[in-house]
Amino acid sequence: MFCASSFLVRSGPADLNLQAQLVWGTNNEKPDDPKLKEVDPGVAEKLRKVFKWKNYFEVKRQNFTVAAGSPKKVKMSDDCEIEVQSLGSSSIEVKLYGKGKLAVRKTQKISPSELLVLAGDDKDDTAWFVVLSQPAK
């Protein structure tokens, strides 16, 4: 598995509170792994609307704050790390690192009801997901 996801919320004038989830998608039943949790129904439903996989399991969840002008790195797994920077005007820059290498960089406007998902396929017809949105207050 490559990576996970994150969410954004304002906590101060320029800070963003984020929630990051590492999600694994599969058409098989839940593996016997206590680390895997069911993804929030709302997020899972949105993922099912877009992707073909039936089941989505949360591997890791991270809550963190991004201060203005100060990029924040968040480790999601041994191989996956994201870096989020607030650019102001509700824009963020998200960098996804796989095995230490920058895999993709994305600049995106954010809003409370939106998800930003970084994703890719994995072995055995499964997929990994990184989702960005506002966590519940």
């Binding site: 609307k49 993709v104 930003l116 994703a119």
Partner: protein
Amino acid sequence: MIDHETELKLQAYLDGELSAGEAKAIAGMLGRDVCAQGLYQELRIAQSLLPGNELERMLPESREFYWSKIQRQIDRVESTQADGLPEEAASRWWPRFLAPAGVLAALAVFVAVVLRSPEGGGTFLALDDSHEIETPLEETSSFSFRSEAAAMTVVWVDSHRE
């Protein structure tokens, strides 16, 4: 026994695609050829059954994701072809680019104009081109799209895993 060309003519006759002269010839043949009559009846039955019983094919994933994968595959093939052409061939290559470019342009128009939600008038599908995306690794590629239905922007990272 009727040949394949006649079979096609019979099908075109059934679909009303023949010229007046050709249609007259086929109608005459149907009046005297039993084999042609049999095939024509079979085609008529098939034509009457298909509209109400055609198998509905459901996409296993969202429309946005499905089309974005096709777009990505087109881009990849064209990129590979362009990279592999020698200089001389490349100079003759541009006219042939017009055809796929036309297809892509038509696809873009289709996406921008046709696939709009009928009630709200908002865009149903949107390739996400309004924000910057970069994939520095050679062995990876990425594309971005937005799903209005899921209120979600997706960056799909392809590591070219076989």
